[in-house]
Symmetry: C2
Subunit: 364 residues, 2 copies
């Protein structure tokens, strides 16, 4: 029996009733935690931390020791797949991730191949397995990957970009080349996520951080189509348990109906959309994960509680199919104590809402 003691997160993703709304935070193992900074110092660099399963496990568990979170997420980087494809990932201070060999030449694009996750990405699989053992079925473990379009942005631009000049030039001028990159990358992401599931991940999330920079039509053709291909290839059950999938396109609020149609179990939402409106738009097709503005965590615990309750109220008292999260990764400038205030409010207020609802329905 591999079901975790606290399986609220998995049940919410499958739209089953839960006693409270589960909560976890994107980038919950991160620089806002002094213990994370300490481990990272010991590792030597961010990349060495990612590539060391024991240390990756250590930082994955750190936020769970502090806060009553309902899920753990594999500590890793979204760019492991293109790194395994040979692009040479490295990190610079202040500029973030970069690739030594950005994809600009047709021959290099035609040369791309799907890396074997059990070989070049073995360190990720080892980390997943080690984290699962360490969690000892307390809460579920989420595996993840970057989306093909987001990975392609980094691969073609060579790093973060403000105007996506190179990839968008390719998109409009040589769509055949971009489709080739996306096709190989989608295949790579599918086998990568399936290997994570095989290694112990109990849910998977695909981060489409830059899909929101596309036009509506280009989003469907160059991002959503490949997300759909991956979802269609994912292992849906492991050890008799359903493995739910979450798709998160930052800035994708306009396209929710289309995302809800690709077969994923849940959609991650940034904070620009009202959660109740998002729920009305997707109906009961998918669960929703989100969507507090991470900047709320800069305010006082009292203000944080007010804003967190607004999100829960907007979703609806039953809370079925809602996983609470931020609308983006937690900021490094967040005081850790504020996270306690958030997590406790989500649990308490969602329990209160459900009790009120049951009282109303039993008195009716």
């Amino acid at each position: 029996m591999t079901r975790p003691c606290n399986d609220t997160f998995l049940r919410a993703l499958l739209k089953q009733p839960t006693a409270h709304t589960p909560v976890w935070l994107m980038r919950q193992a991160g620089r806002y935690l002094p213990e994370y900074c300490e481990t990272r110092r010991r590792a030597g660099s961010f990349l060495q931390l990612c590539k060391n399963p024991a240390l990756a496990c250590e930082v994955t568990l750190q936020p769970l020791a502090r806060f009553e979170l309902d899920a753990a997420i594999l500590f890793s980087d979204i760019l492991t797949v293109p790194d395994a494809m040979g692009l040479g990932l490295y990190f610079t201070d202040g500029e973030g991730p970069r690739f030594e060999r950005p994809l600009r030449e047709e021959w290099a694009i035609r040369d791309l191949a799907v890396p074997d996750p059990w070989n070049h990405l073995r360190y990720v699989m080892d980390a997943v397995a080690e984290i699962r053992r360490a969690l000892n079925n307390t809460v579920p473990l989420i595996g993840f990957s970057g989306s093909p379009y987001t990975l392609a942005c980094y691969m073609v631009e060579g790093g973060a970009s403000s105007d996506y000049r190179h990839i968008k030039s390719m998109l409009y001028q040589r769509p055949d080349l971009l489709h080739h990159i996306l096709s190989v990358t989608a295949d790579a992401v599918a086998v990568y996520l399936n290997a994570q599931i095989e290694s112990g991940a109990q849910a998977v999330m695909i981060f489409d951080s830059w899909g929101g920079s596309l036009s509506a039509a280009a989003y469907r053709e160059f991002s959503l189509a490949y997300l759909q291909r991956i979802i269609g290839r994912l292992v849906r059950e492991k050890d008799g348990q359903r493995v739910p999938s979450i798709v998160f396109t930052k800035g994708g609020g306009l396209w929710l109906e289309a995302i809800a149609d690709i077969g994923c179990d849940a959609i991650g939402l940034d904070w620009t959309i009202d959660l109740g409106e998002a729920r009305r738009r997707v109906g009961d097709r998918v669960a929703l994960q989100g969507n507090l503005d991470p900047a709320v965590l800069f305010a006082s615990p009292e203000q944080i509680a007010i804003e967190a309750r607004k999100v829960l109220d907007s979703y609806g008292a039953d809370g079925y199919g809602h996983v609470f999260n931020l609308g983006h990764g937690i900021s490094q400038f967040t005081p850790p104590g504020n996270v306690s205030a958030l997590v406790d409010t989500v649990h308490e207020h969602s329990r209160l809402l459900r009790r009120k609802m049951h009282k109303l329905s039993s008195s009716a």
Copy 2:
């Protein structure tokens, strides 16, 4: 009679029939034009260029000499108002605009006052008047300002920001202070735009570049409410001509219905929303301006024509109430020849669509 010879732009904003779809480009006087770079070199700096009416006039007219654009837009900076409030605007290479004295202290916030546009912003009014004279009623002149929330972002952060940490901390922790900043700034923008209209601007546009970084609820309270206040105070007619207003919230596609309700004549759209869908959502309440992805201009003239036609087709053959534009400012890396391809396609294809439509309706 002050009506320009080519008043297609003004008529489209008022949803009157036009023989073709008018087109202008955000930041059309900019670094992609070698003659602009030359004038800027002569001016000494970007800010000196803004503050010199003769040179501001010169660069405003440069794109009109090259392309068949249907409107001119005042060359200026969006941060002139906070500069006139005493925050000390300056520019750094690579980092963009910054303020010497960011607004962080309550006493400084309480000290904010509405600057007299005829005094501290006289150089803008002189530029508007000089450009109007130079245009000699060929095409209309657009005046503009940053939105209160966007100006407040720069004023509180002290420059561009990736996480808006300071202003959002204020928004969630001290909303009273932020409302005070926004209130004074909205009053300042209203008198500033009215002074531009008095000086000769025939339409005005408010750029809400950062409103899209807010939650749905915060957008209404901290950006849209102040946009509405400004629109309510604008001079609506000058010399017997209606002066249309355009509101552009980048990333505001989720909130179109609410924006359409504040009394503006037109909404500017970024490229993430399908234009036809936007039109269905706002109905005949407002005109729409947009929304080609500026990155399309990195492609070949043939590809540019294909993408421009898609935007026109999506809006609808009648084209009533559509002003063609990019979804954001033109990139400095755009080959100028590609702009000709875009402008000519918009004119030719929109004429063709209207001819087809009339043929259909006369044969019916």
